[in-house]
Assembly symmetry: C2
Homo-oligomer: 326 residues x 2
Amino acid sequence: MKNREAEQNKQATFNKGKSREKDPLPSWNNGQAKQTIIEFIKKVTDPGNAQFVAMEDRIAVFDNDGTLWTEQPYYSQMAFLLDRIDDLALQHPKWKKEQPFKALLQRDLKNALSGGLKAISEMIMATHAGMTTSDFDKLIKAWISKALHPRFEKLYSECVFLPMLQVLEYFKSSGFRNYIVSGGGIDFIRPWSKAIYGIPPSQVIGSSIKTQYKIVDGQPQLWRLPEINFIDDEEGKPVGIFANIGQQPIAAFGNSDGDIQMLEWVTSREPSLGMIIKHDDALREWSYTKDTLLGKLDHALVMASDKNWIITSMKNDWRTIFSFMD
Amino acid sequence: MKNREAEQNKQATFNKGKSREKDPLPSWNNGQAKQTIIEFIKKVTDPGNAQFVAMEDRIAVFDNDGTLWTEQPYYSQMAFLLDRIDDLALQHPKWKKEQPFKALLQRDLKNALSGGLKAISEMIMATHAGMTTSDFDKLIKAWISKALHPRFEKLYSECVFLPMLQVLEYFKSSGFRNYIVSGGGIDFIRPWSKAIYGIPPSQVIGSSIKTQYKIVDGQPQLWRLPEINFIDDEEGKPVGIFANIGQQPIAAFGNSDGDIQMLEWVTSREPSLGMIIKHDDALREWSYTKDTLLGKLDHALVMASDKNWIITSMKNDWRTIFSFMD
């Protein structure tokens, strides 16, 4: 009986080991990118490894647009903005003649964005401010539940990268706290981040406009003011991360030059993991590195080998891109 | 055998119930304050209750100075500031003649603070800025490990209110996320909040100065700039909470007029709990309501009955105040 029990225990341990070895990243092809992620998770979660990291310090940061979901032909927040411009145009007949609104109504993004930060600011204030945070939340939830991606004709929530959902789940089940760190608006992402990525609102960091506490219709509310509060991009990313978390993450995923400082900061210590998603799959998604409407990736790619950042090729490293293609 | 098993199960269930009923707040005297806390926790965690709250929405916010630990004879951050002024005075011989530094060196706080926000800003910038966030973290950790409270001659970390530590633990074990929401500096609190309150850095919200990402001695760092970023007091508290969490808490604890807006916002929905700690125990701690160096409590106390906020009397509701008195 003793022997039998011992054998059972052995088997149980073995089975436990087997189930642990189940491929955590089934939508990734075998290759350096996948292997690096798995080895990183193994070493930081193994108490016997010199690079073991305590659970409270296991923090991973993920850019959103282009890293967790598609950012082409333009950011989803721009799609929301365009839809909202259309909705509001009836109340603003002058927009037909005024830039950047005229160009937006004509879907001429290049022209609309040619006004630089001033034009972008005007677009955002006209569409994102002048209401309570609860009303904005409702607006975003309504939009994300029905808006379709122009190329794939799927909900935006379906245009997330399946391999990255697996990375989020793998990190989370390995004791990590996953944070979104986006140049996009924090209050645009929070209403759906839990449902789409399993990331709660408190783990979303992004750009923001100012809010003001005031009583609206007898109820205390936060009112969205037409004034930029914080730009969570480039140098702003490490600043935003530290302001929100108070700790330095040990893993960072990005896809553009706006992620360089975040990657650089996170990978300045060991152990750490830095990864760049390279959009090189025109057939299944898009292929672009530079001079897009969205900014550049040139510099990040040039820096990668020097900084030991892993480049993930969407074409070669991802077996599937979207779940609707699976 | 069947009957015996059934009996055991019954007993186990009973025991489980009993152990649940163990007094979660042993340092609180029986009374309305204690009862209200316990009833609140019971209803929001009971799936059968109409006021049940899902775990992800169980958020409680706590002011720090005067709510979780003593704020007399002055804020602990002021004690840090005074110690640091002394340390830096050697490098700044002019301070002996210049306000507010002259008054600070003489421990004449009333005079030092008479210069208003400008003087306070100067004191903070001289002592809290011009270094990396890591160096500031080290400075605070070193200070908190040895600085003694002037009246009790105990470490500041021992001058926490034992009844409130029990509230923190009770909320946490009931599935709440506890956040500190302080008018004090976020980076002053984060280095020790986990050790003292069990609250990780990411759950600390406070006032802040701006930081800048830059390379210092070849290492990416965040540099503390001599510029106010955010004042987390009064109207700033709801703003800071929403910016950090993206959700509206359901319980708030405060002790001064700086907490009014936070209490008002949190208790504008049901279910919710709002509580004010009233300092009315000169013997064991301090007794003050108004015209102190630290601001006022008048208005919050007047509003309490109207808003259904519970007033906790330190004298009557707390069996013990500090663990060193127990």
